[in-house]
């Protein structure tokens, strides 16, 4: 049997922890729970992450880097800002559908347990790759004349707050339709709110 590399083992821990934290909550989930799910001893777990808090921060960075990389691929395309808006919405909803634990973790753990993330993960530190790409999206949109110039956080809140809200409703099984069904109308709403008047 092929030996699992240390990097693969670390990815397995991240996947398992994301699922457990988002399903059971941060405080209820224990390190033995995570170790058991991955199939390793608790002692070995500590070779990868020295505490639950450190793991929690790594998970935020992991999600932020994943989102940042996905948005960067969209930003780098030679397409209109309207199309980019759709692509970002689509990517976000696909992620919520296929890897719900990532968004769930972000919404239910990161945003709801600020005391865990206060030291070393405050402000932009852990979410920088994701926020930076959203900055690039807005900057490029204004520069090419598609979007109207306004305060960054006003625009950022409108975009990501909307998506976060929809994914929350989806998670709560309140939405009557699958997320896919909302992509077009929501991206259109966002673009209409942001575009040059």
């Amino acid at each position: 049997m092929a030996r699992i590399s240390k990097e693969e083992r670390k990815t397995n821990i991240i996947s398992a922890a994301l699922k457990l934290f988002s399903e059971k909550g941060f405080y209820i989930t224990t390190i033995p729970d995570i170790a058991e799910k991955v199939g390793m001893s608790v002692g070995n777990f500590y070779n990868y992450f020295t505490s639950k808090d450190i793991l929690a921060k790594e998970l935020v960075m992991y999600i932020s880097e994943y989102l940042g990389e996905s948005i960067r691929k969209i930003n780098d395309q030679e397409i209109t800002t309207e199309k980019k808006t759709y692509e970002i919405v689509s990517m976000y909803f696909n992620m919520a559908d296929e890897r719900p634990e990532m968004i769930e973790y972000f919404l239910r753990v990161y945003l709801s347990n600020r005391e865990v993330f206060g030291d070393g993960c405050e402000g932009m530190i852990c979410v920088s790759p994701f926020v930076t790409e959203m900055m690039m999206f807005f900057n490029d949109g204004v520069e090419c004349g598609d979007l109207h110039d306004q305060d960054f956080f006003s625009a950022f809140g409108l975009f990501m707050g909307y998506l976060g809200g929809m994914v929350f409703l989806f998670g709560e099984k309140i939405l009557p339709e699958p997320l896919e069904w909302y992509k077009e109308s929501i991206s259109q709403n966002i673009y209409n709110a942001l575009k040059t008047r």
Binding site: G123, T132, E133, F138, N139, G141, E143
Partner: protein
């Protein structure tokens, strides 16, 4: 037999469309007399000269260094002679041509009076399409609005000593223009931590984000070779206007152009993504010492 005095390099300082700013700045040079002793001034608008202005405009002299100050306007006349004729003659006969100030270098402020025809001697803003294209190997641009007197003193001294003045792509001396105005700015700690100045003239805060400061994008040594040997614009709380660059003067000099709160121009050579990452993280932290008045900060805080 020529005396040692006769061997001094000769200078003709000739003006196009100008405010005399570079002339005035040069007169503030510390030890001006020592520098001038090394040259023979054939003609200068303010300094004692050995030749009369008529002989300059008659194109009857031969000089080593032709200094042109101001924007080049091909229709302008001095002494009833088109300056285009005077410039052409001396550019051909002089060993060096110094385009002094941003007007002479790139068109500058006075290009605006006739933008379709005015330019610098070699450059029209960024574009190398000025009237002295055929003499470009002789041309040294000393841009600035105005120039720092030491910049001209350095260039003249190098020429006088027979040393090569290395120049950049815009024909500016590398020794003077390879640094940015940002280098040596006393506000650099505020720039690093993204603490912005809300008003002009304050000792605290960085002028880049709110006040239009162009220092991180501007090739100049203003914070290295200080003005009047003591200060610079940014040190007293006024933004750098980027006056040494070909796009000077820009619009809205006292405000920073942003797109959704993101600066349109970021420090030279820094990818915007990298800058935003760095700036976003730096803004996360609040450094008490940098957020109040310097004189109010107590080390026991």
């Amino acid at each position: 037999m020529p005396s040692k005095q006769d061997k001094k390099p000769s200078i003709i300082w000739f003006q196009g469309v100008t405010c005399n700013g570079n002339t005035h700045s040069f007169l503030n040079l510390e030890n001006l007399d020592k520098l001038l002793n090394k040259f023979e001034i054939f003609s200068h608008p303010s300094l004692p000269s050995t030749k009369d202005f008529d002989s300059v405009t008659r194109c009857s002299l031969e000089c080593d260094i032709f200094i042109f100050e101001g924007t080049y306007d091909p229709l302008m006349k001095r002494n009833d002679v088109l300056i285009s004729k005077v410039v052409e003659y001396y550019a051909k006969n002089a060993k060096y041509v110094i385009a002094l100030g941003s007007c002479a270098s790139f068109g500058g402020m006075f290009k605006a009076s006739a933008p379709h025809r005015n330019s610098g001697l070699l450059f029209n803003e960024q574009e190398k399409s000025g009237p002295l294209l055929n003499q470009q190997t002789k041309i040294i641009n000393i841009s600035g609005c105005p120039i720092h007197p030491e910049w001209l003193a350095y260039t003249l001294s190098m020429i006088e000593k027979g040393r090569e003045v290395e120049i950049d792509d815009l024909h500016r001396p590398i020794e003077l223009y390879s640094t940015l105005a940002h280098h040596g700015c006393t506000r650099n700690e505020y720039f690093e931590w993204k603490v912005d100045a809300d008003n002009f003239g304050e000792k605290e805060g960085c002028l880049y984000y709110k006040q239009g400061c162009r220092a991180p994008m501007t090739h100049a040594s203003c914070n290295k070779i200080l003005w009047n040997e003591v200060s610079s614009k940014t040190r007293v709380g006024t933004p750098c206007f980027g006056c040494t660059e070909p796009d000077f003067p820009r619009q809205n000099l006292f405000s920073t152009k942003t797109n959704m709160s993101i600066p349109e121009d970021v420090p030279l050579g820094v990818p915007k993504r990298s800058y935003l990452t760095m700036a976003g993280i730096a803004k996360t932290f609040h450094i008490n010492r940098l957020e109040g008045k310097l004189i109010d900060y107590k080390t026991t805080d």
